[in-house]
Amino acid sequence: MGVLEIAKGMGVTLGKLFQKPVTVSYPEQRATLQPRFRGRHVLTRHPGTGLEKCIGCSLCAAACPAYAIYVEAGENDPHNPHSPGERYAKVYEINMLRCIFCGLCEEACPTGAVVLGNEFEMADYRYPDFVYGKEDMLVGVEGSRPQRREAAAKGESVRLGFRVEGGPRPELEGVTYPQ
């Protein structure tokens, strides 16, 4: 190795020294995610009617390679339906510890109800807190369980630690993330 090579390497170092840093000081600053990032699931609703898209068919549970999803179906009250048609998901649970965020549930869903969103900040203390129900995943619920708990304790609104470049995917109907 000659002096020339050392000088070349040092030149690269010197060049980078004067560039703007790429490190984001998360969580004070928001991390930038691509729209296709696969994070916490969102259960979407039909625009307009506001009915849940999920019909409780359990196909996501069948497709799940990690057996993370549990669905129990119920029958809609015709006067006050949860979803279009006769069937809806009475219980819809995803164990976020088991989930490997592969997105097969989204592919299996015949109605486009379960969509992988971009949220990823779900670190929590107790095992049962990682089993997310409908009340944690329906569209409109912002933030994960620990985030919402903390926000409620502080009396603030949930602050998501990321932004999505170009906004969320069109499949995430009704979901807004910081841009």
Binding site: A62, G74, E86, P110, T111, G112
Partner: protein
Amino acid sequence: MKVTVDGTEVDLPSGTSAIDAVFAAGGDVPYFCAHPYLSPVGACRMCLVESGSPRKGQDGHFELDETGQPKIFYFPKPMAACTMLATEGMHIKTAKTSPVVAKSQAGMMEFHLINHPLDCPTCDKGGACELQDRAFEYGYGASRFGFDRRHADKHYPLSDFIILDQERCIHCKRCVRYFEEVPGQEVLDFIERGGHTFIDTQEGGLPTGFQGNIADVCPVGALLDNVARFRGRNWEYDHTPTTCTLCPVGCAITVDARNGRLERIVGRENREVNEQWICDAGRFGHVFAREGRLTSPLIRDGGQLRGASWDEAIQAMKNGLYGTSPADIALFINSDSTLEEGAAVQALAGQLGTGHVDHWPRYPVAVSSTATLTDVASADAVVVLGADLGEEAPVVELRILEALRGGIIPNEFTHGTAIADLRLVERPARKPERLAVIGQPSRLWKHAGIRADVGGHNPLLKLANPDSDELRAALTLLGRAEKPVLILGADVLNQASGSFAASLSDMAQRTGAKFLAIAAGANSSGLAALKLVPQPGQLNFSQLPQARAAFISRLDPRVRAAGFTIVHDTHLTETAKLADVVLPAVTNYEKRGTTVNLEGRFLALQQAALSAGDSADLIRTLTILAEALGVRPQVRGLKSAQGVLETALGFSVQGLPERGEIRPLAGAAGNGATTGQVYKPQLWKEHMLDKGWHTTWAERTESLGAGEWELPMAAQPRHAPGGDD
């Protein structure tokens, strides 16, 4: 008879249908309308095959082709295999070798799917649907019919138990044929024609008894089990093949559980017992296995029952039984307990030296039947004596009706029961003159040619000494018949006195009839063979209040013993509320064991995956009782119970064939003992009824009539439709 299917030659008995020839040769054709126990009608046109036969010329010899082989003259078009008789030398080509057949089957599938809605994700049949499977195997995968699907009534309750979706119906007519041919009830039919055809009933509901079977026969999700509605998808259930123990017939059932809860029961085939059919009580009366279960022992503390651990319960039993002689403890069990449990009771009673052992319900006599259910179905004369079969053994009623429509039992092949037995015909001619019913009026009454109401008298004695024209006609019927069968029900067996065995064998000898005695409980015949009846001088079940101490398993006499009372039950019954210690029991769906049905057939029970807390079966509970009494029990588990059983019966009950086996029960007939009470059979028990049934659906259908509740498809859409069409 030699038939060639796709180049494979098979040897078959004459009378075989072409569809069975294909399956016997290991081939496959799709079919929706054919069903082993129903008449073949060729309604769905899916089983199309190319077929042809050799032809004889004018010289009486087969016409030969250029290679010297008999020339095969094919039909010009594909033929429905289920309604075609296979003939000597016939050649059949299925979709495997014939592109014409493959194209016509795919085309038929396209027709079937014109109006079939794409709601498989919400349909309870999804995953176990013949249409789904066959469309995948034989369909094009796409449709050229782009127009709107027909809309009809969706989720419209035909009864509390059955829900109809007219859009999904593919008009195979299995349900219509089932009702006409099997229980002989004309309730369902096609209404309108062509593309407008729909299934409905004008009767305002379905007849109770056997309506649930139409959910099993429906090849699509048009007729579904309303009790198991939306409980789980078919691939999510744990399927357990077991035996139903609600009545002594012992029908083959599959118990479907999900997450430790019993959600659904479907019929399973056992050619020799229930063929394919089960009764509504067996299918829908399972709510008790799921709701209100006892999950831990209860002990009486300061006058009140409170939850406790098993250790506390053992201590309570130890304290309560202190000073009681073990020989004074009465052991009373339900007669649907398994043979293994019976052996455990017998062994423990022997060790304790108690003779106060009984099972209930039972009759004062134990009769070993000489007829099998197949004998009933193929009999040319059936005389029912004092039985209300709808309450005692419903499936026997179906087997009797089978005898009335000619007693044709579908043939069996290596691939199973014949898919289309051409001897079965639609709207069969029935022969009511072959059936005589003597006793109280019952559901079977309307099918019988000879009916005699004998009031409260013993029907058997009345038949032996006829004093009316009907009774004389019944006796003549028995005398003339070649294979007559006598069916003995509760009214005969309750009144059985000392001379009963003599008068029965006299009647059997006089007429040459075989007899089938309908036992009181699911395993009464087996438990009687184990001598689980009180000897003279010992207490029977009706004398429970006199017992100094008692252990009662899954019985609800609503009284307690004079002394310490232990109740082992699945629910907090009235008796359990009176007890000193209540131990949680498991239902028969959660047991492994053996039961003996009314024919003397040994049938296996399997354990379904249900969760029931700390509940224990009878064998385990008896070892705990023994521990509380300071006795080392001889039977400590299923294996040792089977060992005791082998000694008692002389053969092993392990490794029974799937359809059970009739084995002689030595000495069973001798083991009678007075019962002290009359057993009145009742199929539906209080705990089997779901409180919701007769309110929600009945209210809904009533308000439907009043125009309050709209059927969703008839209603104006309140919301813009979302998702798929």
